[in-house]
């Protein structure tokens, strides 16, 4: 091999600090060659080593009755009874999507699916959480267009329904959009696969697509702050092949049905390097690979390129000796590349050969164990003063205000997005005609059970107060699962932040995690998987802290669930939870008053739990016709969404003694739900609520074709709907 002298410049180009390089020198007792340096650099990148976040992630509640596998594997695994498990995870593909929105988003979807099926689960649902810059920003429209097309292009082709997500616009994301994708899969409990390579002398198989020169250094790129030049550098982004992915899923499922696989790991960021190191490290074995045997897309690839390539749709597996032929047969049937490229050893070393030479020979343990683990300085975000509702002027025209709200970028209908996603493929999406709901409902094939899935975070709260915002995003997912009648079980997360080397950003990160964790503990709602994306920052301007949370719950029997549509003429609208009219950091304040300030609404976790448990009980007892929680935009927006979805008008009456009118309509007090119930169920529900200490009041009646509220609002529902549906398509087509 040509000897490249490792200079300090080369070390720096690999994103390693002099101190980190010194550790490598100490461990090896010599200078690394370029291949070895490349391997250390990707293993110790922020993306793979979580060096800034690891110690804080350790605070999360990660265990519980229903947790089969918490963080640390490719995805989390929970028990949903009857021998069924649900396997899920969320992941970011922010930087690639900014550079090449279609392929960036597509490969994000492909990558997260592999994390799930590598564990033995058939993917059954996809979700996505998207944040774009201001609609006025010149790049936003084409980014939305490309990202949405990419998500659909990949998921639709593979044939996994994309059932929900969230989309926000804010200038804070102008230079760094967020594309977080979540995948949920189903496996039988005795067919869950793990990544620890076991045994010595066992064959290592490479399957899937060939290795090309795609995205070399992609993992390091995802950890480096953007500057304006990065658009010029135009790093190679990976191109996805959903057709290959579909074949890979079917082939893996077929081989997994046998006992041929000892361990399996997808090749994600840092490809062959991280997959082989992780398998070896977890299994406490060594690994020997002959790189000449790696299926290659281009001639003359170097060991460095092969080890660092991020070509998509590839897997690594340790196969039971004697079952090699079976593995070849299955992958050849599905027309995939398959090769035996190495064996497990008892040396604890990673040894790579290429054209008859040893091109890497390093101990495996330090790659993982000695990865840097920083305690970065962090400063708490200063508390903001509370804004008094009385200090916010009332709008002179509530009709116009409501129309402005339902037509604003963050509340307007997402139909233009979700109609590009196949939501009904696999024929287990429940209630497929309705996509504005609180949580998606996907049946476990062949049963009457279903999983409920939601993604949520309110970055403006996290920015105002990371700790309260962290509590809120977990609470909102819990609430959204409750709204459909599910038992919330566990979450995954995708923590998107700026540069962790800045104490204020690190303060946001720590604050959000601590708030999230407190909510997880209060609800017994552990974190089972997740992902961290740092350095989302351009020219020193960071994104708002955005810890996206993906919640998963179980509907044990599909005879008992709810959605936000289903209110009938004559039904009564009941509001659960207390309303103080909290307008600080609300959407109303931003959209109507042009102010982004004030403390966000506090989250009382005990009250959340009590109110939510009460609502779920009512759904299980089939005493409600429709349910929706109050979130962005407050009660009036939630009530309007319910009326639109149920296709019936609504007359709202503000109870005597309630808070000021603008706060009543648009306040974002937490722990609140709206229920549509039969008129004759009202009294029994109110009295049960009273006996349990749950605040509940009657606030309206469904019927007609108008939305009316006291003497403030009188609008045709069709007009509201037209405004609500118009914004996004008009924007995209302008």
């Amino acid at each position: 091999m040509q000897a490249v002298e490792i200079t300090p410049e080369i070390v720096a180009e690999h994103g390693l600090t002099p101190d980190e390089y010194q550790i490598i020198l100490d461990r090896l007792g010599r200078a690394p060659n370029l291949n070895e340096l490349g391997i250390f650099s990707v293993m110790w990148s922020e993306h793979c080593s979580y060096k800034s976040s690891r110690r804080h992630l350790g605070k999360f509640l990660t265990t519980g009755d229903k947790v089969i596998q918490g963080p640390g594997e490719n995805a989390g695994v929970i028990d949903i009874g009857d021998g069924d498990t649900i396997i899920f995870k969320m992941e970011s593909h922010n930087h690639p999507s900014f550079i090449e929105p279609y392929q960036g988003a597509a490969t994000g979807v492909g990558g997260i699916m592999r994390d799930v099926f590598t564990m033995g689960a058939r993917p059954i649902a996809l979700m996505n959480a998207l944040r774009f810059g201001s609609p006025d920003h010149p790049k936003t429209k084409s980014l939305v267009d490309g990202v949405v097309a990419g998500i659909g292009g990949y998921g639709n082709c593979v044939g996994v329904p994309t059932v929900g997500g969230e989309t926000n616009f804010h200038p804070g994301y102008n230079g760094n959009i967020l594309v977080n994708a979540m995948c949920v899969g189903h496996a039988r409990a005795d067919k869950v696969f793990y990544s620890a390579a076991k045994g010595v002398g066992n064959p290592i198989f490479y399957v899937g697509s060939k290795t090309g020169k795609d995205g070399i250094h992609g993992a390091t790129m995802a950890s480096a702050e953007f500057d304006d030049q990065s658009e010029e550098k135009r790093p190679t982004v990976q191109v996805g092949d959903p057709f290959k992915e579909k074949l890979l899923i079917e082939a893996c499922m077929e081989l997994m049905a046998t006992d041929a696989i000892i361990a399996i790991q997808d090749m994600g960021a840092a490809g062959l390097t991280s997959s082989s190191v992780e398998m070896a490290d977890k299994g406490g074995v060594g690994i020997e690979l002959d790189l000449d045997l790696v299926p290659q897309r281009e001639p003359n690839m170097t060991p460095y390129e092969m080890m660092l390539s991020e070509s998509q749709e590839r897997m690594l597996m340790v196969i039971q000796p004697g079952k090699e032929q079976l593995a070849f047969d299955v992958f050849e049937k599905w027309e995939l590349d398959v090769a035996k490229i190495g064996v497990t050893t008892d040396t604890g070393r990673m040894v790579l050969s290429h054209k008859g030479e040893i091109v890497c020979d390093i101990p495996v343990a330090p790659l993982a164990d000695d990865a840097p683990n920083y305690d970065r300085p962090h400063e708490p975000t200063p508390k903001r003063p509370q804004i008094m509702t009385a200090d916010i002027a009332e709008p002179s025209d509530y009709n116009a205000t409501l129309l402005k709200m339902v037509g604003c970028p963050d509340l307007a209908s997402r139909r233009w997005i979700w109609e590009q996603y196949d939501r009904t493929v696999m024929a287990d999406t429940v209630d497929n005609s309705q996509s504005g709901g609180d949580a998606a409902i996907v049946r476990i094939h062949g049963t009457q059970k279903a999983v409920a899935i939601t993604t949520d975070v309110t970055p403006r709260y996290c920015y105002a107060d990371p700790y309260e915002g962290g509590k809120q995003c977990v609470a909102e997912t819990w609430r959204n699962l409750t709204c459909v009648g599910a038992d919330p079980i566990a979450i995954t997360d995708c923590l998107n932040f700026g540069n962790p080397e800045r104490p204020d950003i690190m303060g946001q990160f720590v604050g959000c995690i601590e708030g999230m964790n407190e909510a997880c503990r209060a609800f017994d709602y552990p974190v089972v998987s997740g992902n961290v994306s740092l350095y989302n920052e351009t020219n020193g301007v960071a994104i708002p802290p955005t810890p996206a949370v993906g919640g998963v719950g179980l509907i044990p029997d599909l005879n008992y669930f709810a959605t936000l549509s289903g209110a009938k003429d004559g039904d009564t609208l009941i509001l659960i939870g207390k309303t103080d009219g909290w307008l600080g950091s609300s959407l109303y304040l931003r959209e109507i008053e042009n102010r982004e300030d004030g403390a966000p609404p506090p989250v009382d976790l005990q009250v959340e739990k009590q109110n939510g448990d009460f609502v779920r009980r009512l759904i299980r007892d089939r005493r409600v016709n429709a349910v929706h929680d109050c979130s962005d935009g407050g009660m009036l927006i939630a009530a309007t969404e319910m009326a639109m979805s149920s296709r019936t008008g609504l007359m709202l009456t503000k109870p005597e003694g309630s808070c000021l009118t603008n706060g009543w309509y648009f306040g974002e007090d937490q722990a609140r739900y709206l229920l549509a119930v039969d008129a004759n169920s009202v009294n029994p529900i109110l009295s049960t609520a009273k006996s349990m200490g749950v605040p509940a009041i009657e606030i309206g009646t469904f019927g007609g074709s108008q939305l009316k509220a006291d003497n403030h609002i009188d609008l045709d529902l069709s007009k509201i709907r037209a405004t609500y549906e118009a914004w996004l398509p008009t924007y995209m087509e302008s």
């Binding site: 392929q103 697509s209 135009r234 190679t236 990976q238 191109v239 092949d241 057709f243 281009e298 070509s311």
Partner: protein
Amino acid sequence: MKAIIHVGLKPGVLDPQGRAIARSLSDLGYDEVSDARQGKVIELDMSGTDKDAAEARVKEMCEKLLANTVIESYRITIED
């Protein structure tokens, strides 16, 4: 005038479409085909008569809209 623009994937970028075509041709018995690539051709009808000026404009269109220069390269021909 007419502008004819060929847009193809840059060398080294995965071309799943081309691969599938090559595979399918070989299944049909066309063994002489060893590889295939697929690209786009965009043909524009343009007013004006100055070819050089047109080419410069079309180049701009490619950079802005017609090609995704992160993964694609393009070639322009101007015809009368």
